[in-house]
């Protein structure tokens, strides 16, 4: 016992240390302390001690709030969980937002364990105290735990809770109203439909007309949750008007929220409302004056078209989409590009050819690389519909252009799509059209590109197999290993590093190892150093015979190298040979 307490005593002592790092460390090890003390001493000594000396550093308080959420076993389980509540209550009143939020989170976690008999006394009591606190800080926190209370309270208690909630919703300070509004969606699932209609709809409506933009924009999500509880007719009367109002709100941020959650809105309000009322709204959002709103709407085009009738999608949404392809904002066009390909499977082959193909091609020629990349990234949705031939004649020039873009980050993005394209295009087409490109990446002037190219080789080999590798890639690697610029000889070694685990051991032994050994006497020390490193990697896949006859002697030679670092890495490699 003494042994165990030793380090724990230190931890306890450090709870009050001036150095914040030590206090932080102690708090993070609170469960260790509690385990050593045992349940009873934790209850009677540790918790009161923490309560009395509440730290004033936010970092420490945050760590404490987090630890307490997992503390119930240390205080003796369900029956004693309530002992932790006063501490968390204090933390929920603290000035710093992140600490309060964490305390609220922990309170929600612990609340599940409070037995029903004492729930009202402990949890609802805590809630009442927070709601009636003087400052906006405690009231805001109250908003965060209300849904827990609603889920478990008796019907009589619920009446009280609803009164409390209403008071929070009418608070003058925006911070409290914001908390109340954003937590409404957590409350609604726990409340009877009739009560929602009687009491909460009013609140929902007044939030959607709040003078503070930051409150109004939260109303949209509440609408979705409420709509889920109502039937279609109720939604027509109650929720739809509010959503329509939000969609034409003066603040673009509110309209943005509507655009951003549009698919969920359609799902929950149902096909009829979507077809009749939401569709025109969506079209308006696609034409909104604010680019951010248009962007959000553009990324939902596929989702919406899945829900509405095809004919009306073609008639109303398609014209807007075509306009968006030439939107003045590149972010809008990029958002459109990453979504619009999904229309192909919905429209089917004929409609896609007639209406969408030109659109794709236009975006594929956009002046902004990101737009073009977004199209290429989603090709897998279109190729099954249209077939490769049709696309390839347009695709290839676009890919080649992006692969040669001046900005290396654009080139990098293209490399990342190459394995995907390889899979879809198939080996013959790939060899013909894109093979050469992959090889040029290996010789790019930017290191990150060369590095990505070697990883690319590995993925391609995984797709196409060893035989393909030997015919098409190997010669290039051999050629690269003889380049006069040492940077490219390095690339050779890096390629071999990544490929060593992909190709078969025979290929490694017969084809890759010779290349490495050829570089043993390279005049650049950096190359010889990397030869040692590569040999070390190859040891893992080659059988011991080859290791003994070919690798070890080479490494021994490097042990006598005139460069110190070469000798060092050679010795490390030799150590792994002997393991």
């Amino acid at each position: 016992m003494a042994d165990r307490m030793g380090p724990v005593n230190i931890l306890i002592g450090e709870l009050k240390n001036e150095d914040i790092q030590l206090r932080l460390n102690s708090i993070r090890n609170l469960s260790t302390i509690a385990k050593a003390l045992g349940t009873e001493r934790t209850q009677k000594e540790l918790i009161p001690f923490l309560k009395e000396s509440l730290d004033d550093e936010d970092e420490v308080l945050l760590a404490l709030a987090e630890e307490l959420g997992k503390f119930s076993e240390h205080v003796g389980g369900r029956d004693h969980v309530h002992l932790l509540l006063p501490l968390l209550e204090n933390l929920a009143r603290v000035e710093e937002t992140v600490v309060r939020d964490k305390a609220v989170e922990s309170l929600c976690l612990l609340s599940e364990q409070i037995p029903p008999e004492s729930f009202e006394e402990h949890f609802i009591g805590l809630l009442k105290r927070l709601v009636s606190g003087d400052w906006f800080t405690s009231k805001s926190s109250a908003g965060g735990i209300l849904h827990i209370a609603f889920a478990r309270a008796s019907p009589t208690a619920q009446v009280d809770l609803r009164t409390m909630y209403k008071a929070l919703c009418e608070e003058e300070t925006p911070m409290v109203r914001r908390s109340a509004c954003s937590n409404m969606k957590k409350l609604i699932p726990h409340i009877d439909k009739e009560i929602i209609k009687k009491e909460f709809i009013e609140i929902f409506k007044s939030f959607s007309k709040d003078e503070q933009d930051s409150v109004r924009l939260l109303a949209v999500e509440n609408g979705i949750v409420i709509a889920e509880k109502m039937n279609e007719e109720e939604n027509q009367q109650i929720v739809k008007p509010v959503i329509l109002a939000c969609a034409s709100d003066k603040s673009w941020r509110v309209r943005y929220m509507v655009a951003n959650t549009f698919c969920e809105l359609c799902d929950t309000l149902g096909k009829e409302i979507t077809q009749t009322d939401l569709l025109p709204v969506f079209v308006k959002l696609l034409k909104d004056s604010e680019a951010e709103v248009r962007s959000a709407a553009a990324s939902k085009v596929t989702g919406v078209c899945k829900i509405v009738q095809l004919e009306s999608a073609i008639r109303t949404i398609l014209p807007c989409v075509k306009t968006l392809a030439t939107d003045e904002s590149q972010h809008v066009r990029a958002a459109l590009a990453s979504d619009v390909m999904g229309l192909a499977p919905i429209f089917g082959k004929n409609h896609t050819t007639e209406h969408l193909l030109d659109l794709f091609l236009q975006l594929l020629k956009d002046e902004i690389p990101e737009v073009r990349l977004n199209i290429i990234g989603k090709l897998d949705q279109v190729t099954p519909v249209l077939g490769l031939d049709q696309l390839s004649q347009h695709l290839l020039p676009a890919i080649v252009e992006l692969a040669e873009d001046r900005q290396w980050r654009v080139r990098l993005a293209i490399i990342e799509y190459v394995p995907l394209l390889a899979q879809q295009l198939g080996v013959t087409y790939f060899n013909e059209k894109l093979g050469a490109l992959c090889m040029t990446f290996l010789g790019d002037c930017v290191f990150s590109i060369r590095e990505a190219a070697t990883k690319n080789l590995k993925k391609l080999t995984e797709v196409f197999g060893d035989a393909w590798f030997k015919t098409h890639i190997l010669p290039k690697i051999v050629e690269l290993s003889k380049h006069t610029n040492y940077l490219y000889r390095m690339t050779t070694l890096f390629s071999i590093n990544t490929l060593s685990s992909t190709v078969g051991p025979d290929t490694v032994a017969n084809d890759l190892l010779p290349i490495v050994l050829d570089l043993l006497n390279d005049r650049i020390a950096n190359i010889r150093l990397n030869v040692a490193k590569t040999l070390r990697m190859l040891v893992a896949v080659l059988d011991s015979g080859i290791v003994e006859t070919k690798i070890k002697p080479s490494l021994n030679k490097l042990l006598e190298d005139k460069d110190r670092d070469v000798r060092y890495f050679a010795s490390i490699a030799l150590q792994s040979c002997n393991q």
């Binding site: 004033d56 937002t97 800080t137 911070m175 003078e211 933009d213 603040s251 680019a291």
Partner: protein
């Protein structure tokens, strides 16, 4: 808002609340008279900003040396020291090889009452959020600890002139010569640029932003003023980027003309009235009150610096023409306060219908309160640049070099 009614009420207010002011307190350290005439050292103790919090309980005073002093109101309405702290230190910008001064350009308090008062302070480049906590001191009394909770830095290539809280209690703007950034109080790593007047070609630069302020109640409106005498109102609801302002206010009638025209039109301060119905702008010679619905001329022009017009040449010679005077509204939005030279200050009632000139000076047994008179020698070094008005009481704070003055309105003469 019926403007005539408001003006009438403001007149009534003036009639029943006589604008007679008396000295209440003075604070500040005298320059050490025995020190060498090292001008930079002497200016360290000069006040550079003043602000009351939303309750009037606290008055924050910022100094050139980066120090902030917070005073708190006592039962007898006077203010005593509550706490003080070093807000900013001077830094060296390696890129431009320039020193970043520690001078506190502006202080603003968090607009909502809270158990732990919070304030934003800013120097040329960095904005900081401080919170004041009361703790049990070593000997059992309470001590006040001030902690920097957030540092908002790296977002301004040019010098910051103002910060302003939004009524949503969550965001604020910071403004430099060419740009305005929108911040969230909880996020120091990102800011949104919402206004940018930097021209493509810097050779074409002709206008800089001089001040900005959020509407006290509408979370979407803010105004900013420029060196060309323009006031622009932007609406955050309209679009993500507020370069296309919603309204532009300009007084196209100019009195001066000539060489100094441009120099005196630059606006040094612009703010909404506490009720949100009017805007005031302070330029070198006047204060202008604007009705936000009328953009092409101000509602009223309050003139109190006409005596400076013949002296503009001298004021230009000694650089005084570039002084930036602040102005302040009272809590009922009926009165305005602004400073001047010779330690004078002016209280303007009922939209400029009545202007009460005063002089900020500590009354001694021999000296009675003095008032400006037309032929007095212009002492440009004695200037009241900084002002603040208690949010709901008739207490005003004035900053004149290293001294701060508090004046209260005399109430014995009010009609019963």
């Amino acid at each position: 808002v019926n403007v005539e009614e408001v003006i009438a009420k403001a007149n009534e207010y003036y009639e029943s609340n006589a604008s007679e002011w008396e000295f209440s307190q003075m604070f500040g350290e005298e320059d050490d008279p025995s020190s060498d005439s090292d001008t930079t050292g002497a200016e360290d103790n000069w006040i550079s900003s003043l602000a009351f919090d939303s309750t009037g309980r606290f008055l924050a005073v910022g100094y050139n040396c980066g120090q902030v002093v917070v005073l708190t109101q006592q039962e007898d309405q006077t203010y005593q020291l509550y706490t003080e702290f070093k807000s900013h230190d001077s830094e060296f910008d390696f890129l431009t090889s320039m020193e970043i001064e520690e001078k506190i350009n502006q202080i603003k308090w968090f607009p909502y009452d809270s158990c732990i008062p919070a304030l934003l302070t800013t120097n040329d480049k960095t904005i900081k959020l401080f919170k004041m906590l009361e703790k049990e001191g070593a000997e059992g009394g309470t001590e006040v600890v001030v902690k920097p909770k957030k540092v908002f830095e790296g977002a301004h290539a040019y010098n910051i002139n103002s910060v302003s809280f939004n009524s949503d209690g969550e965001t604020f703007i910071s403004t430099d010569d060419l740009r305005i950034n929108l911040w969230n109080l909880n996020i120091t790593t990102e800011a949104f640029g919402i206004v940018d007047i930097k021209p493509e070609n810097m050779d074409e630069l002709s206008e800089v932003i001089t001040s900005s302020s959020f509407h006290p109640k509408s979370c979407n409106l803010f105004v900013y003023s420029t060196s060309k005498g323009m006031i622009r109102m932007a609406d955050l609801r309209n679009s993500a980027l507020c370069d296309r302002y919603a309204k532009e206010f300009e007084d196209t009638e100019s009195d001066i003309g000539g060489f100094f025209q441009e120099l005196v039109t630059t606006i040094s301060d612009v703010k909404f009235s506490p009720d949100g119905n009017f805007i005031v702008s302070r330029d070198y010679l006047t204060m202008k009150i604007w009705d936000p619905r009328i953009e092409n001329k101000p509602l009223r022009v309050v003139k109190f610096h006409d005596h400076l017009v013949p002296k503009l040449c001298d004021l230009y010679e000694n650089d005084s023409i570039f002084d930036k005077f602040e102005c302040s509204w009272n809590g009922t939005s009926y009165r305005l306060l602004t400073g001047s030279y010779n330690n004078n200050f002016y209280i303007c009632d009922a939209f400029g219908s009545h202007v009460t000139p005063m002089c900020a000076v500590k009354p001694t047994a021999q000296q009675k309160p003095t008032f400006p008179h037309p032929n007095q020698h212009l002492e440009a070094s004695q200037k009241v640049l900084h002002t603040a008005w208690h949010p709901n009481q008739d207490i005003i704070a004035l900053g004149a070099k290293d001294f701060g003055y508090l004046y209260v309105r005399k109430t014995e003469n009010d009609p019963k």
